[in-house]
Amino acid sequence: MILRPRNAAWLIAVVWFVWVHAAQELLGRHEVFGLATPDFGMVLFVGLLGAVKKNDVFPLALLAAVSRKGFSVDPGIAILGGFLALAWLAVLLRELVELTNPLWRAVLTAAGAMGLAFWLELVRYARTGGALPHLDPLLPLAFTSALGALALGGFAIRLPGLTPLRRRQAWS
């Protein structure tokens, strides 16, 4: 059986997402990073979002959500909802901003990391109670994720095995 390059690229993307999430989880346990651990999964997702075809945005959100679920006790449906919302936002914004621009990519990554973390906190609160979620503890996460996107976001589509996912022309 021969795998088509694009299909193989999707499988490799899963592996990259899994490893990135695992590294993020490992860093998050370190005292130095804690709540300021960059959301590398989001950096990779937004980095790829600007580089893939429009039709690939939905599968990309699904893939990012599925791989994140493997490292989180948050409900899968909430994670999927978060990534779908971000993908939808990116599709809406594409006419106004260029997602391959490092600055815009950093802004969207910061908003995405903070928004997803807040959304998952809200879901956790709605389901189990406890403390009301607040936005301010998530600011370091947004900041470091933006820095991560500035430094590494452009390399996302250049990761080994992912180039078949690159779009050849602008989104229509």
Partner: protein
């Protein structure tokens, strides 16, 4: 095409509807849909295996923690066994109230589904027990046996005095007349309305209190043997609490401050049976928390959670291995957390620092051999600076009347939470001694977070079958 037309285009509309469905199901889960989604996300649980090499980096630290906690496990277990024996002794009535009664120990297992005023109690021996028998803890009245469970021969259902259709005869002894032999009769049962800003409190209702009747004083049970209630007299003399009268709007409210936290602090109870029954005078429950057959061994597949502020892990055991949602996860004598979602072969572990996690806790106050039931603790997360666990604790009874403002204590799991056995170590805390809503800081053994090999509680039934 106008922008509005684009937004309302078919594809985007479908996408938007999908998003709204996801949001709705996230916030208001539907059990049937959740089960379907579990199947959909089941393959994701295998993904952590792909990154196993990253786990190996921390192996030396993990093994050191496991060895250390294992070495201290025996000490922790024997401490817990002693504590629980003391808890059972504390649940016995004082000698004067034992006369003419057979005492059968019981442990509250859980609230009955759909009945907040009914608890399920596992008793030492159900022989001779019947509906209507009073249930007490120490010298405090709790309620009556409502029924014997049809399926489980060790369970009885107990109706609490807080039930809206529960009535018990009582007498009020005025503080001024301490030596009085007969008090003023009242009927007690159900909950009194709470004043604004004190909804967390819980008081027993007094039915039709007369303006010329008692307004304050000690309230004890005094039942009339009427309507064929053969066991009612066994409850005579047990305390219901203290009557008080407080202003409420333009009127007054007479209510009883109970000695117990009926909402979540009811752990050990005693069923009172007539002495003429054949059984021995006192029957105590065996502690099965540390019976090996009650636990199933699992492996931590991930080290933590990538969502900030959450404390979760993926475990290798699932439904196939007998793991069920809400079960305690432990190592040695320490509680590590509770099981969250469960798949066929894996499960989520919610650590003690995971916000929203709920636990029933028991405290061994320094210098006091008698453990205290704290009731429910709700996790608020872990303090990132000092690593302590933050819990919200609603203290419905005073810990030390007239004592210091705070006391040091070692916290253990209590009873009444399905899936969590009593006596597992939670950590050390400074406890406020007054009633009210408090935030507790609990210092957990740091090695508990380093473990890879863990054990999940399978239930009392498994231990009993093994014996």
């Amino acid at each position: 095409m106008t922008p509005l037309a684009r937004i309302l285009s078919r594809r985007r509309t479908i996408y938007l509807v999908l998003l709204l469905v996801c949001a709705g199901l996230s916030l208001r889960p539907v059990p049937a849909v959740e089960r379907g989604l579990d199947v959909l996300f089941a393959p994701t649980r295998a993904l952590a295996v792909l990154v196993a090499p990253l786990r190996w980096l921390r192996m030396p630290k993990v093994h050191a923690a496991e060895r250390d906690l294992y070495a201290r496990a025996e000490e922790g277990r024997s401490g817990a066994v002693e504590l629980l024996a003391a808890e059972q002794r504390a649940a016995l009535p004082s000698p004067a109230l034992r006369q003419g009664r057979r005492l059968v120990h019981g442990e509250v297992i859980r609230r009955s589904r759909g009945h907040l005023d009914r608890v399920e109690v596992r008793v030492a021996d159900r022989t001779g027990l019947a509906a209507g028998m009073p249930v007490v803890t120490g010298d405090a009245y709790v309620g009556r046996v409502a029924a014997l469970d049809r399926e489980d021969a060790a369970l009885v259902l107990v109706e609490l005095v807080t039930g809206s259709d529960f009535y018990v005869g009582a007498e009020v002894f005025d503080d001024a007349a301490r030596d009085a032999l007969i008090g003023r009769p009242v009927i007690v049962g159900g909950l009194a309305a709470e004043l604004p800003d004190s909804e967390h409190e819980l008081h027993l209702a007094v039915h039709d209190p007369s303006r010329r009747g008692a307004r304050a004083g000690r309230v004890v049970v005094r039942e009339l043997e009427a309507y064929g209630e053969a066991y009612a007299h066994l409850a005579d003399g047990f305390s219901l609490g203290r009557m008080e009268t407080v202003p409420r709007k333009r009127a007054e409210l007479t209510r009883i401050v109970p000695e117990l936290d009926f909402k979540s602090g009811l752990f050990q109870v005693v069923v009172l049976a007539p002495d003429e029954d054949a059984g021995p005078g006192e029957e105590a429950l065996e502690l099965d928390t540390f019976v090996a057959a009650s636990w199933v061994r699992v492996q931590g597949l991930t080290r933590g959670d990538i969502t900030p502020a959450r404390e979760g892990r993926l475990l290798s055991g699932g439904l196939v291995a007998g793991v069920s949602e809400g079960s305690a996860v432990a190592f040695g004598a320490h509680l590590v957390g509770r099981v969250g979602e469960v798949g066929w072969t894996t499960a989520d572990l919610r650590g003690l620092g995971d916000p929203g996690l709920r636990l029933a806790a028991l405290a061994q106050v320094d210098g006091d051999p008698v453990p205290r039931a704290l009731g429910e603790l709700v996790a608020l997360g872990r303090d990132r600076d000092d690593g302590s666990l933050r819990f919200r604790w609603t203290a419905r009874v005073e810990l030390e009347g007239g004592g210091p403002e705070r006391v040091g204590a070692l916290l253990f799991t209590g009873s009444g939470e399905e899936g969590v056995p009593r006596g597992l170590v939670i950590g050390r805390a400074e406890l406020p001694t007054t009633r009210g809503v408090h935030e507790l800081r609990v210092v957990q053994d740091p090695e508990v977070r380093e473990l890879d090999q863990l054990y999940v509680w399978r239930g009392h039934g498994v231990a009993e079958a093994a014996r």
